[in-house]
């Protein structure tokens, strides 16, 4: 009996979501916000952590988070919110690309997550040098980052697209390893250029445009002459990076993986010496 009730809840929720996404009249919006239970931690919307937002709220969030992220680039939650509220079309595009790729399709059905709890660190440490898993672990150690620092998706109103967004965030560190970029400002900007070319997410494009403003002239030169063009070219021609089942490829040699993805090795070797706190 309770199962029927839960299904009934879901049906009602979906009905309201349809009203929402069509951006209908204020009455519907008011109805939605007057109806209780929407901010309940147990009653999670479409997925755990989901918060329903009206189009007005999304617009306000996009502007507000953009301003906040510009003022304080270390506010990763604001960058995340900006990505979620502006990335709807790009996410659909990414999801369709994943669906058309057999490995990507597997990922969409199996929904793997990259967290410390799901990674077997000792096994990865025992892999030979030059393997993807070992290099990834080295990247995490050198730059003092952890895969668990990614914020959860909150404002995407489609469960599958929310997963695509989450996957994009979790793949970001792996991308650093694939591209051989450290987590300092120059490395991050290079990765952002790659991601902007690959995914088309407005947040990446914004980061790609505004990131260089914080670089000094020598790094800017390096960016514009070698790193930048390399990142853009490879972003465009490489296979969709979200469609790779990384969790099954730890043993694969990094160079092989790069070739498979159509990514050239970086033209400049950047060290992880100047670390910024993530």
């Amino acid at each position: 009996m309770s199962l029927c009730a839960v299904k009934g809840f879901q049906w009602l929720r979906q009905r309201q979501c349809v009203l929402f996404s069509k951006g209908m009249s204020f009455l519907c919006v008011h109805q939605l916000h007057s109806s209780p239970g929407f901010t309940d931690s147990c009653y999670d919307g479409l997925y755990p952590g989901h918060i329903h937002t009206t189009p007005i709220q999304k617009a306000l969030l996009a502007v507000g988070s953009g301003v906040a992220a510009l003022q304080n680039p270390y506010r990763h939650d604001m960058v995340a919110v900006l990505g979620e509220t502006t990335g709807h079309l790009a996410l659909i595009n990414l999801r369709d690309r994943m669906k058309n790729d057999p490995e990507g399709y597997t990922i969409l059905t199996e929904r793997p997550r990259i967290r410390l709890s799901t990674l077997d660190l000792s096994k990865m440490a025992s892999l030979p040098d030059g393997s993807f898993g070992r290099e990834y672990l080295r990247f995490l150690e050198d730059n003092h980052v952890t895969p668990d620092s990614r914020a959860d998706v909150k404002f995407v109103d489609n469960e599958e697209l929310a997963y695509v967004m989450q996957r994009y965030r979790e793949v970001h560190d792996l991308l650093h390893t694939l591209l051989g970029m450290p987590t300092n400002m120059l490395g991050e900007v290079a990765v952002k250029w790659f991601e902007a070319a690959q995914t088309g997410l407005p947040m990446c494009a914004l980061g790609a445009v505004l990131g260089p403003l914080r670089l000094n002239s020598s790094r800017l030169q390096s960016l514009f002459t070698s790193l930048g063009p390399w990142a853009l070219q490879n972003g465009r021609r490489s296979r969709c990076i979200l469609s790779i089942f990384y969790e099954r490829r730890w043993e694969q040699n990094l160079e092989d993986l790069r070739q498979e993805l159509n990514i050239e090795p970086p033209p400049v070797i950047l060290s992880a010496a100047n670390k910024r706190s993530t």
Binding site: M1, S2, L3, C4, A5, V6, G8, F9, W11, L12, Q16, F26, L27, V29, H30, Q31, H33, S34, S35, P36, G37, F38, T39, D40, S41, C42, Y43, I51, T54, I56, Q57, L60, L61, G64, S65, V67, A68, R75, D77, M78, V81, K154
Partner: protein
């Protein structure tokens, strides 16, 4: 099976009814957070007392915990958010509370749910300026005293003055009190007339007949049992003492009400997310305003607790109401 169909129908009706009623939900009706517990609410068999947490229904025992969590999360950004959400108008409301209070030197204030100390600081400033005004009046009334006389008068008055007026800030949440103390230090307010006490509004850690004025500003809607808080207020006040409450209330003008609702539900959670990184706490705050009784009903509750001469003033068109009562 039939029960679940009934459940579905009631829920769909509820959606439409809630919109028509403008969000003032019937207290007994539970849009339960999880399937099984909502069925329990409908059957009313177990008799678990439940109350509202924003628009959610939670067991009474849980509400205090969840409110604590909310204020723990928002404490650091509380003042910034107040300025952002009310566009600075909350300062005017608090100033008006003080003006209505018109405290004289020597008076003891208890500010409950006073967290970051806004009311207490204003109280101390007000009393200090009243004192200075009295000194000036006294100086004017004495006919050409010698400088020695004046300086001895000043020195004796200084010793008595600040110590007599005491403000006690009481809050259930340690994080909020911490922020308040830091503020006091940075503002350079002397610790002489100010105390910070952890306490529950429903069970105050003070003796009877202690205070001249009891204030609670934007705190009483978060209390689980408002009637108990009112009774405690009556208890700790001296005879002749005054109870004053600033709280969000029902907007009278329908046009303003619509604008206010839109602003509350669209803008405030967004501000919470952008400034404080916490959407849900501010969603709760906005919903809790809708669940609080309106001006007349709250006036009735204050009278029921035993206060006399209960009045209220609407500020900003009813967005905020200032209730006042006396213990006689």
């Amino acid at each position: 099976m039939a029960a679940s169909v009934r459940l579905l129908l009631r829920l769909s009706h509820r959606n439409i009814n809630v919109a028509a009623a403008g969000g003032s939900a019937r207290p007994g009706c539970c849009w339960g957070p999880t399937g099984p517990s909502s069925c329990r609410c409908f059957s009313d068999a177990t008799g678990d007392r439940s109350t509202h947490f924003g628009f959610e229904t939670v067991p009474e025992t849980e509400k205090a915990k969840r409110v604590y969590k909310v204020f723990e999360n928002v404490a650091q950004k509380y003042d910034v958010m107040n300025d952002a959400m009310s566009l600075g108008i909350h300062r005017v409301w608090k100033d008006m509370l003080l003006r209505a209070m018109h405290p004289q030197p020597g008076v003891r204030l208890l500010d409950v749910a006073g967290g970051t100390g806004d009311i207490a600081f204003r109280f101390l400033e007000y009393v200090q300026s009243q004192q200075e005004r009295q000194k000036r009046r006294a100086a004017r009334s004495t006919q050409t005293p010698s400088w020695q006389d004046i300086s001895t008068n000043y020195s004796t008055e200084d010793e008595d003055g600040p110590q007599e007026s005491k403000a006690v800030v009481c809050d259930i949440n340690k994080e909020m009190l911490k922020v308040g103390k830091q503020k006091a230090d940075s503002m350079g307010i002397s610790a002489a007339g100010l105390s910070w006490v952890v306490g529950d509004a429903e069970e105050l850690p003070f003796d009877d007949d202690q205070f001249d004025i009891y204030t609670i500003a934007f705190g009483i809607r978060n209390v689980t049992h408002i009637d108990q808080a009112l009774q405690e207020a009556l208890r700790v006040l001296k005879p002749g003492g005054r109870f004053m409450c600033l709280e969000f209330s029902k907007v009278t003008n329908p046009v303003l009400a619509r604008l206010y609702d839109t602003y509350s539900f669209q803008m405030i959670p967004v501000l919470g997310e952008v400034i404080a990184g916490d959407w849900k706490s501010y969603q709760y705050l906005v919903e809790s305003i809708r669940k609080f009784p309106d001006q007349e009903e709250f006036k009735g509750m204050i009278e029921d607790a035993g206060f006399y001469c209960v009045h209220y003033h609407n500020l900003t068109g009813g967005v905020v109401a200032l209730h006042s009562g006396f213990k006689l």
